[in-house]
Amino acid sequence: MQGLVRTLTLGFFALTWMAPLVAADAERQVEVRNGTAKFETATNMPAIRVHGTSNQLRASARLRESGGTVILEGLEATLPVASLSTGLGLRDTHMRKYIFTTVEGNVPDVRFVAPRAECSPSGKALTCSVAGELAIQGRSRPLTIVLNVRNESGSFRAVGDAVAKLSTYDIEAPSQFGVKTHDDVRLRLEFTATPVQQQASNGGVR
């Protein structure tokens, strides 16, 4: 009987939202494919803001639980520049040229890496302050992304915000016919991270 109770109890915990995180101190590899990355920047004209979106955010990280805190390690995320769209083809061309192209003419992916981040419970979710480095044109600069993570049937639905400054990359804010974007660019990430092991058994990520 005691064995049955123990089994049911373990099963219950395995099915709860914390299960993939709390299940063990063992590391879990999680992966993101086709996540969404958005940006928005204001301009010197009140009626004009520039929005952009990509649905090709990819990332991977290791997850482990330690003393009630979830720890993210080895986080790496990439975003192909060509996948970013503002809805206006010519504006996309300008954006790639003025923001993402190196002096050598290369257009490297946008890349974010964070060696380690801690996530603490916040209601039914986790809040992760991910301090890392964002690379634009291959130049890395510090950036902190605050992620709100919810468990959804074993996967992790995350939404995060950050603000990047073009000037820290020595990129001048683009200007077109009197409309000049601000230096601050608001970033928003929306993605589902899935344990790699689960992906294998499910045939892929959501």
């Binding site: 004209m45 009626a47 520039v50 929005h51 809805g87 016919f177």
Partner: protein, 381 residues
């Protein structure tokens, strides 16, 4: 019979016509206000230099905007202080109505638009239309028709930009309206007010906040209205960006006006929603009206408009449009209409459009069908 056919033609012209090229549909890209691309905060009229660049970028050519190097045009711009163009709009349409003959109408219009800077914060705007075909607003039993003269001053305004967010205007123009579509023939334009012939004298303010836009106004007759129909009053437009992404606008409009022959109070709600390649424009207006002459009566009128649009390409937009008009007794009417519209911007100087529309009067079962083709040419800047 001829007057009936002419009236039908006029009705269908107004019902089908639309410039189709000014673009509240730009909400899909987060352009929530006309001021982003137009010199006038209310929209319409010449584009500012940024708007010209967007215009070119969204054309089939999708090129970089280059200001004209034509020496005459450059000289006429007086160092950039004068923005002006000439626009030719040709509309060809056929209309079929139940128990009536087919009508074929070629409606050419020549529009001159000018905005002249007067000092650093003032500018004067003028739009003048000439047309060979008189296109009357349809006369209905509770509203006499109007006939725009061969030369019609649509706009004569003095603008004052107090700050980047606040501007004032005084003169003659269309009143600020909800979704602000350019087609003046739709019910929410031609039945709520004078449609293409709307040009009252007015003062108005434009206040463009981070997530809101307010435009209060007061108006008086424009001088071209029929006797006793010149209206005075005031109102306001107030809209809010719900999500804060500049693509989810909801607003309310209020207009109160009175003339010797009538009074009317209109309250409307509207929305402009953008979702990248597609979006929705919708408006519903309720007008309490009172006629003092001919058939004195108090009655209510409701006009609705809904448009779903999809940018198949940046330069090619297809729309499905539904309209509804309800007028209470003693002028009872129950009109519904559907329209399919295609608008293509080939270059920043050439745009074409085609549309097909079906309208049904539910009380009589009468059906009007029409198809139109339109080409708009604009001089270079």
């Amino acid at each position: 019979v001829k007057p009936r056919v002419a009236a039908l033609a006029g009705l269908l012209i107004v019902a089908v016509a639309g410039r189709a090229f000014a673009l509240p549909t730009m909400i899909r890209l987060g352009y929530r206000e006309c001021a982003a691309c137009h010199v006038s905060p209310q929209g319409g009229g010449p584009l500012n230099v940024y708007g010209r660049a967007v215009d070119e970028a969204q054309s089939r050519r999708a090129g970089e905007y280059r200001p004209t190097e034509n020496s005459i045009l450059k000289a006429l711009s007086f160092g950039g202080r004068v923005t002006q163009d000439v626009r030719m709009v040709l509309q060809d349409q056929r209309a079929w109505a139940s128990q009536s003959s087919t009508t074929h109408t070629l409606w050419p219009r020549l529009v001159y638009r000018n905005i002249t800077e007067v000092g650093s914060r003032f500018n004067a705007a003028a739009t003048i239309t000439t047309q060979t075909e008189s296109v009357p607003r349809p006369a209905v039993r509770y509203d006499p028709g109007t006939g725009a003269p061969a030369v019609f001053v649509n706009t004569a305004l003095l603008h004052y930009e107090a700050t980047k967010s606040i501007a004032f205007a005084a003169g003659r123009d269309q009143l600020p309206t909800g979704i602000n579509i350019p087609d003046q023939g739709v019910f929410i334009k031609s039945r709520n007010r004078l449609g293409y012939d709307e040009a009252p004298t007015q003062v108005k303010m434009f206040w463009n906040g981070p997530r809101f836009y307010v435009s209060p106004f007061a108006f008086a007759p424009g001088g071209h209205e029929a006797a006793g129909e010149g209206e005075s009053g005031g109102g306001t437009l107030a809209e809010f960006d719900v999500v804060g992404n500049q693509k989810t606008i909801v607003g309310v409009s209020l207009v109160r006006g009175s003339a010797q022959h009538f009074d009317r109070d209109t309250i409307g709600v509207y929305t402009r929603l953008g979702f990248g390649k597609w979006g929705v424009l919708a408006e519903h207006d309720v007008t309490d009206r009172e006629r003092h002459v001919q058939t004195p009566a108090s009655f209510q009128q409701q006009a609705s408009y809904a448009q779903v649009f999809w940018a198949m390409r940046e330069w090619l937009v297809i729309s499905g449009i539904g309209e509804r008009l309800r007028v209470e007794a003693p002028f009872e009417s129950r009109l519904t209409a559907g329209k399919l519209e295609l608008a293509a911007r080939l270059t920043n100087q050439i745009a074409v459009g085609a549309s097909a529309r079906v309208q049904r009067e539910q009380l009589t079962g009468r059906v009007n069908t029409s198809a139109a083709f339109q080409i708009a040419l604009k001089s270079p800047q």
